[in-house]
């Protein structure tokens, strides 16, 4: 069983922010990077499916610059076999449809039995790349999956709806599934595994035709605070005292 997992290196902001001079993105100096939380669940799920099927391969694919290999190494340290990194013009800050186009070519070349992505990336929250990728590959798909049972030519999966309602779906395989947190407990990579992952191969690829971008950021800005919260200042004791007063007043 060969599974491709799409993994993204995501960026998070601390408590300070400055923008690039064209104001279209945050200045990278203000960003920290990590493997997307949803993608670590997707990687874990792929590893478990490989393990229970007895053999096979887990390939992780990412669209990102050289620095993005760090996140992919995390997935390799968890146990994925090899990586593919796609990078080229037009991919910096790309919209999810463009990212899906960049992934489609390399995933197609792998002819996997199953493709997994995360539900969403924590920095962009598009919840779109996996579904767009499925369309470009001509594959069926289910978004927001919390359970997978592989059958013969199909898989029975749980699709988690709003309010926690589960839709039991039978999907033809191969397919693309976007994986929700909580589906499993992602393993920790041991130090030894992290070291070994350094030796695992990462193939570099250039994207084919990306077409026109589906969107472009015109301007990023810090949201206006609106009325905002009334801030409780002072030492923890003073804060706790104010909280007590607020609670007592509101519950009266």
């Amino acid at each position: 069983m060969k599974i491709v997992v799409c993994v993204k290196q995501v960026a998070s902001l601390g408590d300070e922010v400055e923008f690039t001079s064209d104001e279209r993105d945050v200045d990278p100096d203000f960003l920290d990077y990590a493997l997307n939380e949803w993608d670590s669940y997707a990687t874990e799920e792929a590893l478990r499916l490989r393990e229970s099927s007895g053999d096979g391969e887990v390939v992780v694919a990412t669209v990102g610059d050289e620095d993005a290999e760090e996140a992919m190494r995390r997935a390799l340290a968890m146990g994925a076999d090899r990586g593919i990194r796609v990078w080229g013009d037009g991919l910096a800050g790309a919209d999810p449809i463009t990212v899906a186009r960049a992934l489609a070519e390399v995933v197609r070349d792998e002819s996997p039995d199953l493709v997994l992505a995360g539900v969403q990336s924590s920095d962009a929250v598009q919840a779109a790349t996996g579904t767009a990728l499925a369309e470009l590959l001509g594959l069926p798909r289910v978004a927001v999956v919390t359970k997978i049972e592989l059958g013969d030519g199909t898989a029975t999966v749980h699709r988690e709806l709003e309010g926690g309602l589960l839709d039991v779906v039978e999907v033809d395989v191969p397919c693309v599934l976007t994986i929700q947190t909580g589906i499993n407990e992602p393993r920790y990579a041991t130090l030894r595994a992290i070291k070994q992952a350094e030796q695992k191969p990462i193939e570099e690829r250039e994207p084919g035709d990306l077409g026109a971008p589906a969107a472009r950021v015109r301007r990023m800005f810090v949201p206006p605070r609106g009325e905002g919260a009334e801030m409780l200042d002072g030492e923890p004791a003073a804060i706790a005292q104010r909280i007590k007063e607020i609670v007592e007043e509101r519950l009266r």
Binding site: D95, R101, A128, E162, P223, M231
Partner: protein, 312 residues
């Protein structure tokens, strides 16, 4: 600017986001059509016939439950026939299953989790956030005459009143469904119903470790609060499903919602932002939860918890 809204429904009921989409569509000006793709669409016509809707397009499909291939084919056919400038879907689990596919297949402009919309120089400008909702962005769609947008629930007030839209039946295209609905499974009810509590003490990933949970169970009891949490604590198995607040958990509206160590992700806010009084403690002054809180404190939650223990 003509807009096609796709109605959302589950188990025979219209989902509220549909009427919010109508309001969003009205912001763009121009005629608004609402597509109802369902087993018996006529049963939902009355519910979507609200102020601002010019036409209701009904497409009868098998089965009634959402299936990506079925809904996508129906919406594709409507796009080809009606040529709307914008297609508005909810930023919901159903739409996540086909909205991006429409954009990829038809080469349309695309953005999701959109919470503000306007027309500028004939084109659409959408607002959404990035980086843990700490920055917002204006997004444009150069070169696209048509866009698909997934709109954040509760960003617009639902449209109401009105009535009298034209109803047009449209035949469903033949399609082979490759992902088929089989059954529903409901979340098991828990030991408490957090939706009826007056006072929720809600803890997030900021509490760090499972071992720390006990401290907050005790604190909640002292304060007379019911303990609830954000999703990661449920994912990790520290808290039962029934105590999760948010989009995939419970929608709560207590008199007081005290959030400790919760960042304020959009799916969490969806479940608690209409609470009477929201008090948030977070060590990060830029945490998005402060945008919806009435009172906020930038502090270590353990320090504040320790002081609260002395007061209650």
């Amino acid at each position: 600017m003509s807009v096609l809204v796709v109605a959302e429904h589950v188990r025979g009921e219209l989902r509220p986001v549909t009427l919010e989409l109508v309001s969003a569509a009205r912001d763009l000006g121009g005629p608004v059509a609402v597509a109802v793709v369902a087993g018996d669409p006529s049963a939902l016509v009355e519910a979507v016939d609200v102020e601002g809707v010019d036409e209701i397009l009904t497409v009868a499909v098998e089965p009634d439950a959402f299936e990506t291939d079925v809904v996508q084919a129906a919406v594709e056919a409507l796009i080809a026939e009606r040529e709307p400038d914008a297609v508005l879907l909810g930023f919901t689990v159903d739409s996540m299953g086909y909205g991006p596919a429409l954009a990829a297949k038809l080469g349309l402009g695309f953005a999701s989790d959109v919470f503000a919309l306007r027309r500028e120089d004939g084109g659409v400008v959408a607002e959404r956030s990035f980086y843990g909702a700490k920055v917002n962005a204006e997004v444009e769609f150069p070169g696209h005459e048509r866009v698909v947008l997934l709109v954040r629930p509760t960003s617009w007030a639902p449209s109401a009143g009105g009535g009298g839209a034209t109803v047009t039946e449209v035949a469903a295209p033949a399609v082979q469904s490759r992902a088929r609905h089989r059954d529903w499974v409901e979340v098991e009810a828990g030991d408490v119903d957090i939706t009826t509590a007056d006072f929720l003490l809600s803890v997030g990933r900021g509490i760090g470790d499972k071992e720390n949970l006990e401290q907050f169970e005790e604190l909640a009891e002292r304060m007379g609060a019911t303990l609830s949490s954000s999703r990661p604590l449920v994912d990790a198995g520290w808290m039962p499903n029934a105590r999760q607040v948010g989009q995939s958990g419970k929608t709560v509206k207590p008199k007081v919602y005290l959030a400790l160590g919760i960042s304020g992700a959009v799916q969490h806010l969806a479940g608690m932002k209409t609470s009477g009084t929201i008090v948030a403690v977070n060590s990060d002054p830029e945490a998005a939860i402060f945008n919806v809180a009435h009172y906020g404190a930038v502090a270590d939650l353990f320090d504040v918890a320790e002081e609260l223990e002395k007061l209650f």
